[in-house]
């Protein structure tokens, strides 16, 4: 997978501007704090700045790593772009169809990634899929930094995302006439796409300004010709920051029809959790941070070529699996969880999260190692998620033994190993089967697209039984969060 670019200097533009123009994300908004816009110099020169020195180690600098957000050059350069090797989860599984004529589209508008699907409304077949990165990413990687940017420069993010989706649709449609488009996404994505004010989401009590479904025509959105007459609907939000992507996930895993309680966890930057069954559903979001996507991890990267995605114990040593099979360049979320789980078992990591014997880092393979702060980031992320699920369970007053199944949505949930996730306490040690269900947001939204007559009642029913719980406000959450930051002790050996 190519992620290699060659650039010539352009008058009046810094290299950073050029890279930005190419769509490289500056996750922290360009203040060098995160190191998330790493690029590797293959040839040419990019002077090392103070900010790069803070964010990167001497070895990394020597190996040619720089930060795109501060890159300048006066000659031609060729670069490896680390961000461009993302693995984006699409979904093409079949759902029930109520046939109608023409073509429709389903869009999963995520904070980081974007999936656009073209669907034949007569058969329900997926005719084409375009995955991409959300172009808003260059203005910050999490929803809060997007909100902050929109408050500073209103409208920029709205027109950017509308334009991008319009172009992606045009590419998929190729002359066919688009009748209907359904979009799902979290509350911030909803507000930014629909042009609603995000100001109420920037402070306590974080109430959306307009969380209902919003309808447009392709023409109103400024989309290309063949999409002009399409009826475009952004599905309604569930409450707080929890959006229609989670509602769609509930449909995909059948929570609204389930007799016994089940759980759904979408472990992205905003960990979204739902818990319940047809009698009632509780949902919440926890700020897990970007660790599961490799963010804020020294050698973290998305699950792309060169990422360690699996770590296993082999005698006294470790065996690391690298995506693409080449030399390891970094580690992604599932590799991080594995590495921590294995290290807890071998004793090189203590339950407190401290690397044993005062070690400064945990070597994995080649240049890739985990630092003590990487483990701390993981502790924060998994602590938030575990505390979120536990509090929803308590709020619902359901005993863990009653929970019939636990569904994991999203890319990370699809690749993380359940045993490792349990070992580090990211997933509870319930006797509950765990099912990775892939991109449930796309599947659930496609189900809605393909059942036009039932759509409204399905959504109304879901919204009626779903209640959003604001965790940040609860002292119990803060308590549970800290408690869940440590790693659980090893499981009792099973008897018999």
């Amino acid at each position: 997978m190519a992620e290699y670019v060659q650039l010539q200097p352009e008058p009046g533009k810094t290299l950073s501007d050029q890279l930005f123009g190419l769509g490289i994300e500056f996750p922290c908004g360009g203040c060098t704090a995160c190191g998330g816009c790493r690029i590797r110099l293959v040839s040419g020169a990019i002077p090392i700045t103070e900010g790069m020195r803070d964010a990167l180690s001497d070895e990394e600098l020597a190996a040619g790593w720089r930060l795109a957000c501060q890159a300048e050059t006066d000659g031609p350069v060729s670069l490896d772009i680390e961000q461009w090797s993302a693995r984006i989860l699409t979904d093409e599984s079949r759902v029930a169809v109520e046939p109608s004529e023409g073509f429709g589209a389903v869009i999963d508008l995520g904070t980081t990634t974007l999936v656009v699907e073209l669907v034949d409304l007569a058969t329900g077949s997926v005719l084409g899929v375009l995955p991409g990165l959300n172009p808003q990413g260059r203005y910050g990687s999490d929803v809060m930094s997007r909100i902050e940017f929109d408050l500073r420069e209103p409208g920029v993010l709205t027109s950017l995302i509308r334009r991008t989706i319009g172009a992606m649709l045009a590419e998929l449609v190729r002359g066919r006439k688009l009748r209907e488009v359904l979009i799902c996404g979290n509350t911030v994505m909803h507000h930014l796409f629909c042009g609603e004010s995000v100001e109420p989401l920037s402070h306590v009590p974080f109430r959306p300004s307009a969380s209902g479904a919003r309808c447009f025509t392709g023409e109103e959105l400024g989309w290309p010709g063949q999409t002009h007459s399409a009826a475009v609907t952004f599905l309604p939000c569930a409450g707080g920051f929890v959006g229609s992507d989670l509602l769609a996930g509930l449909i995909a895993c059948g929570m609204h029809q389930s007799e016994s309680p089940i759980a759904l966890m979408d472990l992205g930057t905003n960990g979204e959790i739902a818990f319940g069954g047809r009698e009632g559903i509780l949902c919440t979001s926890t700020a897990a941070g970007p660790a599961f996507e490799g963010g804020r991890i020294r050698m973290g990267m998305r699950a792309g070529d060169g990422a360690i995605d699996r770590v296993e114990q082999d005698g006294s040593g470790l065996v690391c699996h690298v995506i693409g099979g080449d030399a390891p360049r970094g580690i992604c979320g599932s590799g991080l969880v594995d590495a921590a789980a294995v290290s807890l078992t071998t004793g090189s990591l203590a339950a407190t999260g401290r690397l044993s014997n005062g070690a400064k880092s945990l070597p994995l393979a080649g240049p890739v190692a985990l630092t003590q702060s990487d483990i701390r980031e993981l502790q924060l992320a998994k602590g938030a998620v575990a505390a979120g699920l536990e509090l929803l369970r308590q709020e619902a007053a359901i005993h863990s033994s009653q929970v019939a199944s636990l569904h994991l949505a999203g890319a990370f949930g699809n690749y993380v190993r359940v045993d490792s996730a349990r070992r580090i306490g990211l997933l509870p040690r319930w006797d509950t089967p765990v099912h990775p269900i892939g991109n449930s947001a796309v599947r659930g939204t496609r189900t809605l697209l393909l059942s036009p007559s039932r759509r409204q009642s399905l959504l109304d029913g879901l919204l009626r039984i779903t209640r959003h719980v604001e965790l940040a406000a609860s002292p119990e959450f803060q308590e549970a969060f800290v408690e869940n930051m440590t790693f659980p002790s090893p499981p009792e050996p099973s008897r018999g």
């Binding site: 999260g353 702060s373 800290v482 440590t486």
Partner: protein
């Protein structure tokens, strides 16, 4: 005989019960409160801070130690008050308006208490008005503002502006902290200090107090 070395260990290990027990025994034996605090408790918290700095300790350990410190201080409070011993300074602390995160704020609050400060915790989502009211009624030396969201950081600025308008800015020092906060931001909004983490906040508060004392001397 109270085993005072055990008091130090209990605080470092976050054992609140053991810490309070040693203090109670020591009080019954007539040990001077200030000797306990200065020779054992503050050095113990300094050690906890050191371990946090070098990443040996993390938030859970820090919180447990802070709780142990609090438990050890509890029985000493009435003695300190009756003997007229002054705290290192009076700090008003709160998470600013719009923000509910209070783990970091609680940590700083406990560590400041451990460092000998009198701390008045206003909780979270605290409006500039509430800070002003409390500053007037308590005569605080320092106001510590916490924010965990980039979008609530401006509340720090508004609080400082409100203090100016109320004519209180010259009387109090303002220190700020929280994940998105930087020294640069502190300079920009005219705060007196910024601390990267909870343990450094205690050192910062001490430094500001010695500055105040010199200035008024």
């Amino acid at each position: 005989m109270a085993d005072l070395a055990q008091l130090r260990e209990a605080i470092i290990n976050g054992n609140a019960k053991a810490a309070a027990a040693v203090v109670n025994t020591a009080i019954a034996e007539g040990t001077q409160p200030m000797a306990l605090i200065h020779d054992y408790m503050i050095p113990a918290m300094d050690e906890v801070g050191r371990r946090f700095e070098c990443e040996e300790y993390f938030v859970p350990e820090l919180l447990l130690s802070a709780r142990a410190m609090k438990a050890a201080l509890e029985p000493l409070r009435p003695l300190l008050a009756s003997s007229g011993i002054q705290p290192a300074g009076k700090v008003l602390i709160g998470t600013v308006k719009g923000d509910l995160h209070d783990i970091g704020k609680n940590l700083v609050s406990s560590l400041l208490e451990g460092g000998g400060f009198e701390v008045i915790d206003l909780g979270s989502d605290v409006s500039p008005g509430k800070f002003i009211e409390a500053a007037q009624s308590t005569g605080a030396d320092i106001i510590a503002l916490s924010a965990l969201l980039t979008v609530t950081m401006p509340s720090m600025k508004y609080t400082i502006e409100a203090l100016k308008e109320a004519g209180l800015r010259e009387r109090v020092k303002v220190i700020i902290g929280g994940a998105p906060v930087t020294q640069q931001y502190a300079d920009q909004i005219g705060a007196d200090g910024y601390s990267e983490n909870a343990t450094l906040a205690v050192a910062l508060a001490r430094r500001l107090m010695s500055g105040t004392r010199q200035a008024t001397a």
